[in-house]
């Protein structure tokens, strides 16, 4: 029987022969070089050979408390149970992530925590979607049907993701400086209050800016009729602004350090600040920005391993633990699953499971304006 040896043993034997004088230096270095070359050449193709035995899955999400909740409550137990390693990375937004995916080789990135159906549609239109085998994800039965249906509508009845959580981008304010009554009175227009110049912030995301500009100008965010009025509102907001924030961590830091008194913010992050003891209020204005997040499987990923992970993540005990950690309500239907004590207290939670109280972005409408509005906001943001 032939005994198989690994590369380390091969190198050690070669080195021993060289040290013993059985091999001249030129031959030794030549063989090492040839081995390096052979490894370099075969590596890009090795993934095909290794595809049959999946040892790891790459996951990318929003970082901060969200990543911590997923790592602790989903990935670590999954790794312990299946032996499949979950490598998790972070991004500041879906735009940034899509650039990374575009620059990568197919299969390098596997699962992304995408926000909004508009991102799902955009990734699908770029040819990055897959087709999940729903038989491998039986826990999908616990998910709010409305959340699944909107994704199916984009991908011809199939799914390239599973819904995972939902939340809102509402108004966050420091109660030391702004009362609840003032917030109720002014709503989204608090972000245009000249008296608070230099104490206002905003997310550097063109969708959020235009959504809030629509609210400030009394328009339907999913059907803006006076675009110029919206841009004027975006400019007015910019002129009162201390800083555009670019990540959840920066949002939390600006509020916690009292650099700013009011901004729009992500419901879960604001809840996390409240949990830390900061007196930060949170309010969803009428037609506030609702969104649903999903776990999107990218083209070229090891499907069965990804489906196994998604099913694990959707198991009620896992999804509830993650939701409690990241402070966003899970996509689980509260009429089918007992969500415990904490989740009903989270911002944006809907006990009916119908989500009628939230306004979501119309993916077709927003993706139709993506190119023009993102570019225009890039200029307005810099003072133009």
């Amino acid at each position: 029987m032939t005994k198989k040896i690994d590369n380390t043993t091969r190198y050690e034997r070669l080195r021993e022969r060289y040290m013993n004088g059985d091999l001249d230096r030129r031959s030794f270095l030549g063989l090492i070089g040839a081995a390096g070359l052979a490894y370099g050449v075969q590596t890009p193709f090795a993934k095909y050979a290794n595809a049959a035995t999946v040892s790891q899955v790459r996951f990318d999400g929003w970082g901060g408390v969200v990543s911590e909740a997923l790592r602790e409550n989903a990935f670590d137990p999954f790794e312990a149970e299946t032996g499949i390693k979950v490598v998790d990375g972070t991004f500041g937004g879906a735009d940034e992530y899509i650039s990374r995916v575009k620059a990568s080789q197919e299969g390098e990135y596997n699962i992304a925590h995408l926000s909004g159906v508009f991102d799902y549609a955009r990734y699908h239109n770029l040819g990055l979607s897959t087709e999940l085998n729903e038989d491998n994800i039986p826990n999908l039965e616990y998910v709010i049907p409305k959340l699944i249906d909107v994704f199916r509508a984009v991908t011809d009845g199939k799914l390239s993701c599973v819904p995972y959580d939902y939340g809102t981008t509402g108004l966050a304010y420091n109660r030391k400086y702004i009362s609840d009554e003032e917030m109720q009175e002014k709503g989204a227009n608090i972000l245009l209050d000249p008296a608070r110049k230099g104490k206002i912030a905003g997310w550097s995301d063109w969708r959020t800016r235009m959504w809030y500009a629509a609210l400030q100008t009394g328009q339907n965010p999913n059907d803006v009729t006076d675009e110029e009025a919206c841009w004027d509102a975006v400019r007015a907001h910019r002129d009162l602004l201390l800083k555009y924030w670019g990540s959840g961590a920066e949002l939390m830091s600006l509020l916690a350090e009292e650099e700013i008194h009011v901004t729009e913010g992500w419901s879960g992050r604001i809840y996390a600040l409240q949990e830390q003891g900061h007196d930060i209020g949170y309010m969803d204005p009428p037609n506030g920005f609702g969104w649903q997040e999903c776990m999107f499987v990218l083209k070229g990923s090891p499907m069965e391993a990804c489906e196994e992970l998604l099913n694990f993540m959707l198991a009620p005990e896992t999804a509830i633990a993650v939701a409690e950690g990241q402070n966003y309500p899970p996509a689980l239907d509260p009429t089918k699953v007992d969500l415990g004590d904490k989740i009903p207290t989270l911002p944006a939670f809907d006990p009916t499971g119908k989500l009628d109280g939230l306004t979501f972005a119309d993916p077709e409408y927003w993706n139709g304006h993506e190119q023009a509005w993102s570019k225009e906001f890039g200029r307005v943001q810099k003072g133009y």
């Binding site: 940034e96 650039s99 575009k102 239109n125 770029l126 800083k243 350090e257 190119q371 890039g378 810099k382």
Partner: protein, 288 residues
């Protein structure tokens, strides 16, 4: 092979690893960027392959890009000047110090052990409303309420100086180290005061280092995007931020490629002008 031929080949053999790396890691990617700059971005975010001049037309004719480029050059110039003024005395002290030179050099290198991003973000803890400086001023009773010091042009320059100062000091230090101190003594013995000896002997001889440090600070400063992102306000974006946004946020790689080449061309032209009029070869020639 003759000895002459072997000697002629030797520099190329020694240079070949570096040249290969530059070719594969700089020249080839640069060619990709050149090709990309002639493509177009479609409404779905996909790229349309072809030869289109639209990105170049936009980058060269739009006042928006020109203004941000001028602002970038202004910030880089101010930063370089501040680095020169602050860096020269520090380099002089290190070069002329006896006994503790190694310690001073180690202290100079210390910032490199910490990530540039972390160093930049540290200013938030120093200058923030709840930062160290405001807290100290409030405690001392100098101010009644915190001063808003962050997120403006000054903090961008401050962050850049923090990042670039060691580069300036090191360049000037190397130059000063190479100057024979007997020259200053000779000047003194011929009747020059210490100040005159510095202005007429030491400073001219150290100009190559100052010039090299200045060039390095200027190019690095003009190409940065982290500092204005972390420490700047809405109106403090620099040109590299536009490249970042075009590529990352707008997924417009073709336009981002054209913009990055535009920045490269401007900085390249400035380096050429610098070498023509202030380059080290010229300085050495002038001093010779």
């Amino acid at each position: 092979m003759s000895v002459e031929a072997r000697e002629a080949r030797q520099p190329w053999i020694l240079l070949s690893p570096a040249l290969t790396a530059i070719f594969l890691l700089l020249f080839v990617p640069l060619l990709f960027i050149v090709v990309y700059s002639f493509w177009l971005r479609t409404s779905t975010g996909a790229d349309q392959v072809g030869f289109f001049l639209d990105n170049w037309r936009e980058a060269l004719s739009d006042a928006f890009y020109r203004d941000i480029l001028l602002f970038t050059l202004k910030i880089a110039t101010i930063t370089t000047l501040v680095c020169a003024v602050m860096g020269y005395p520090a380099a002089y002290v290190i070069a002329r110090s006896k006994g503790n030179k190694a310690l001073l050099l180690l202290l100079l290198m210390l910032p490199f052990w910490i990530s540039y991003i972390i160093r930049t973000m540290s200013w938030i803890n120093i200058l923030g409303v709840s930062g160290a400086l405001n807290t100290a001023l409030l405690w001392l009773g100098v101010i009644n309420e915190p001063i808003q010091m962050l997120y403006n042009q000054t903090t961008v320059i401050l962050g850049l100086v923090h990042f670039l100062l060691p580069f300036m000091i090191l360049n000037v230090f190397v130059s000063l180290e190479g100057i024979d101190t007997n020259l200053e003594d000779a000047a003194n013995s011929l009747g020059a005061t210490r100040m005159q000896a510095f202005w007429q002997v030491t400073l001219p001889l150290s100009l190559p280092g100052l010039a090299a440090g200045g060039l390095l600070c200027f190019v690095l400063g003009a190409g940065t995007y982290i500092t204005p992102l972390v420490l700047g306000g809405p109106g403090d974006a620099m040109f590299a931020n536009l490249v970042f946004e075009a590529i990352i946020t707008q997924l417009n790689w073709p336009l981002g490629s054209a913009l990055s080449l535009m920045l490269l061309a401007v900085l390249g032209a400035l380096v050429l002008i610098y070498n023509r009029y202030l380059g080290m070869a010229q300085l050495m020639k002038g001093l010779g």
